[in-house]
Symmetry: C2
Subunit: 566 residues, 2 copies
């Protein structure tokens, strides 16, 4: 068995195969110096929460995963600094080049595994080749970035690209007391992950922490000083002074070897494989960041490169080589991150993506606590559900908040796995005790909100819809039904915001003008829901509550302020 | 609408009903002084992590949920210190007694809701009526216990009953620097929740923290001093000095009013209801701790009183009264708690319960980390899966550990909801990033372990089986494949334990005697699995690895020590 690639999927194939077959001769070919490292930990190393780069190479027991480790523990040979330069499918061998000596040789295989990973995309910008421009893809990159920040005492850094790695890197750099500018050509952060109305939660947090956020403004050039270092990033709208640039615009699957060998490359640009992760050639498997997947919700092809997927695929490949017909299941595309003390993620389809695919979409956005409010530790969780309006089938979900969001997202990924409906969520018997949930879990609350909306019990307005109203110059009347103390703590006042605590609404509702759109707002979206129910019955024709409560309202503050005080 | 009971289900019915119908006249009858309190928070108040008892009465916005609050915010009438003493179904009225004045009167209803809750069970023991014997069911109980501990500087307290409340209470009292004895008639803690092989994890933690644990030893009597205070608890085996006794042997549904009204009481002893939570009388609904449920896995009747269930049921009752035919779904019986810094829980059936019900059961026990080991915060999670051996259908699961166990349990409850298999678990696309999971989530690792066992790839021994071997005087050979540093850190040595780090096994395996049972052990159960695979291929006829690794081994230390060093 020959495995090309020694980072995630490759070593996993080797380890599983060894357990299934003690006699197999297993060789891993790796271009780099290091193998089997935790590449997802690189931003954490930059941010210093992982102290040493070696920590990313260690097993739980503290052993360094180097070729000797694989030899001793697994009986697996690893050739590092060795490149596979060609595959001869007819003779079943791989041509190798030793990158230190330049020597070439051939290695025969019975089965070949392509785990060639992905390559970071580097845009062709003027100045991109400057000395202080980095990507964050290999341990070596992380070491360089961290030591540069420490040694040169970098005061201003720029991250280009607000995808997952870009956001994590911006957070890591900021935690080293270096100011960060983040530039993204799209109009919101994490554009592939989050719909804009969830993305604003992260954006407002980043702005509050001092990140210089440039959205919807593509980078035009990197200007260099005489020393061949970039000192200015020129954007379509504006420019940023900088001492360090990190490029994080994404990765593309590394498929050159597969292409050269005549294997089919799929529509996503990654290697096409069947459910057993076999390529066109039954003796060649592919897995990890170089292979494409099936999206569970749509049944279409997908490319979501993740270490978790790579590990699962490694297991499936080993099983199939060992004669067990295991299948790699379709993915939901679940992606998560922790940055700026927020836990953020998505599974399945986003609202915009679902609409583009022609689904009849209904959404709900709701906020709640991850534990009872009287328990000392509790934080907020915002959940957006995306479902088919007609059937209630869940299509996807997004979460964001300081609380235990990923717990809820994983449950939603499980719902998607079973092609469940929003009504399945409200039927779940989830664990309740004060440290773990509120008596009605925030996830079940999200499903209830969706169903109330679906049944027409109450009308709502989403943050995006509200912004749209403002942009279109429409008029609406805001009623803040929070208690006076809460309003004092996080004020949001102006001539167009009326403050009537819910407890006084029954006596004071006549103060609210009956004409036009009335929007009720509160902390979590529960009291504003009650207020909307009440006002609706009192013949207010168009009354809505703001989905997501103050967490979204706070995030909208910047965009809404002008409207409210005008 | 008249609702009898003002703690959990009752107020929820009222709140939801108000949102569905602004005109309905809603009255809640409550025997006690307080309504709508977080009774699950009582142990946290005793342990001081909830500072004031009023905190359990407050809304998230900080308002006290008293009758005035319900009047103002919801338009709901509450009569406290008022007992419903009889129901006249023919005339559709309830006879009420004002507990302060003794006055009686009748109140008509269109629909009646029984949310009478549960009563704490007080065993008929000699001495039970003494002054310093308490239950922990009402806020008043918690206030008395906490002030007694503080004012009398209680040094030794005894909790009778190691169920959920008993364990939480023991933890709370211990956190106040009071020594605690915990007495349980059954042989392990949380006997209704956990199988003994998971319970030992909690037991060993409790012993390590200094809890005086008396298992399998029923209380025979409480001995009193001249001042009518219990000073000694007499057990079947032994006795305990004490200054305070908390009785936590369980609750029973409060059904006397329902029984008097001629409504059917189910086999569980709780009020029988249909899927709409209607009793025999279509105008009378029942929900919360007084009503029985359907167990989702078995389809049989169940009684699992929980605040989360009560809240969901309140919603369903309100819907049905308002003419929406909502159903309350079967429950998985998910129960969770946090105590002694462990997160513990169960969903579905336990192994013993499943076997008693005639299922062909297979289990797996595995331990892993809840986040990558290089991420600064990570803790262990132990998962026991209980499934049908023939089909792989999940029947239930138990979790215990300092890590994010309940997250995994909630996913398992979701799997149960869909009647999924263990193979569904390994197919899940769960969120992976270093702070949230390992690249192969501990839950997926648990499923993989189960499947490896199911396929006969390797033999295992469970902690219970190992103890059984010891009890039966069987001989086995233990091989510790951890690194020397790990063994030094948590040694577990004796003549019958051979230390061969996994990396040396390929060269040294001949040192292991070939005859008899060989059991490999390591930290998490992964290296011992690899060792078992290797030794099996090297013609060791009966080689097994210990499921759950060191976490279970540590827990077994006490019971195993004699065998190992003999």
């Amino acid at each position: 068995m020959v495995i090309i690639g020694g980072v995630a999927a490759g070593p996993k194939v080797a380890a599983r195969l060894r357990r299934l077959s003690i006699e197999a001769e297993i060789t891993i070919i790796e271009k780099g110096k290091l193998v089997s490292y935790g590449s997802c930990g690189l931003p954490f190393y930059v941010g210093n929460s992982v102290p040493e780069i070696e920590d990313l190479l260690k097993t739980t027991a503290g052993l360094i995963r180097d070729p000797q480790f694989f030899k001793d523990q697994k009986g697996v040979n690893i050739l590092t600094e060795t490149e596979a330069i060609a595959i001869d499918r007819r003779h079943k061998n791989v041509r190798l080049r030793d990158l230190t000596t330049g020597e070439e040789r051939e290695l025969d295989y019975d089965y070949l595994v392509l785990a060639t990973g992905a390559t970071e995309v580097v845009p062709s910008l003027p100045g991109i080749e400057a000395k202080n421009v980095y990507t964050l893809h290999h341990p070596e990159d992380a070491v360089k970035i961290r030591s540069l920040i420490r040694e040169k005492k970098v005061k201003h850094a720029t991250v280009i690209g607000a995808g997952l790695i870009g956001i994590e890197t911006a957070d890591a750099i900021l935690s080293r007391q270096t100011k960060v500018a983040l530039c993204e050509s799209q109009a919101s952060v994490l554009p592939k992950l989050l719909d804009p109305d969830i993305a604003i939660l992260l954006e407002s947090r980043m702005r509050a922490r001092g990140v210089d956020l440039h959205l919807g403004s593509p980078v035009k050039a990197l200007e260099k000083d005489d020393d061949d270092n970039v000192n200015r990033v020129v954007l379509e709208n504006g420019e940023v002074e900088t001492e360090l640039v990190v490029i994080a615009v994404g990765v593309r699957p590394e498929v050159s070897l597969a292409r050269q060998a005549g294997l089919t490359i799929g529509v996503t640009g990654a290697i096409q494989v069947n459910q057993h992760l076999q390529t066109d050639d039954p003796y060649i498997f592919a897995g990890g960041d170089c292979a494409e997947q099936i999206q569970h919700v749509t049944g279409g092809k997908a490319y979501v490169p993740l270490a978790s997927t790579a590990n699962k695929q490694g297991r499936v490949i080993a099983d199939n080589i060992a004669g067990r017909k295991t299948e790699f299941p379709p993915i939901c595309g679940t992606s998560v991150l922790q940055a700026f003390d927020l836990n953020i993620g998505r599974t399945g389809l986003g609202e915009l993506e679902a609409k583009q695919l022609g689904y009849d979409v209904m959404t709900s956005l709701s906020t709640g606590l991850d534990a009872t409010h009287y328990y000392p530790v509790h934080d907020s969780v915002t959940i957006k559900l995306v479902a088919e309006a007609s059937t209630g089938h869940l299509l996807g979900a997004q979460v964001c908040g300081q609380g235990e969001c990923i717990k809820r997202l994983d449950i939603l990924a499980t719902i998607l796995h079973f092609r469940g409906k929003v009504s399945d969520i409200s039927s779940l018997d989830l664990g309740y005790a004060p440290p773990f949930a509120t008596a009605i879990d925030v996830l079940i609350h999200a499903a209830n909100t969706f169903e109330n909306k679906q049944l027409g019990l109450v009308k709502t307005i989403t943050p995006s819809e509200l912004l749209e109203q403002v942009r279109q110059g429409k008029h609406f009347h805001l009623v803040d039904v929070r208690e006076n103390e809460e309003v004092k703590a996080t004020p949001f006042t102006g001539p167009k915001v009326q403050e009537i605590p819910l407890g006084e609404l029954r006596n004071r509702y006549q103060e609210i003008p009956k004409a036009g759109v009335v929007i009720s707002v509160c902390q979590l979206g529960i009291r504003s829901y009650e207020a909307a129910c009440f006002l609706k019955e009192k013949d207010y024709k168009d009354v809505r509550f703001l989905e997501g409560g103050m967490s979204t309202w706070e995030a909208l503050r910047y965009q809404l302020l002008e409207y409210i005080v005008e």
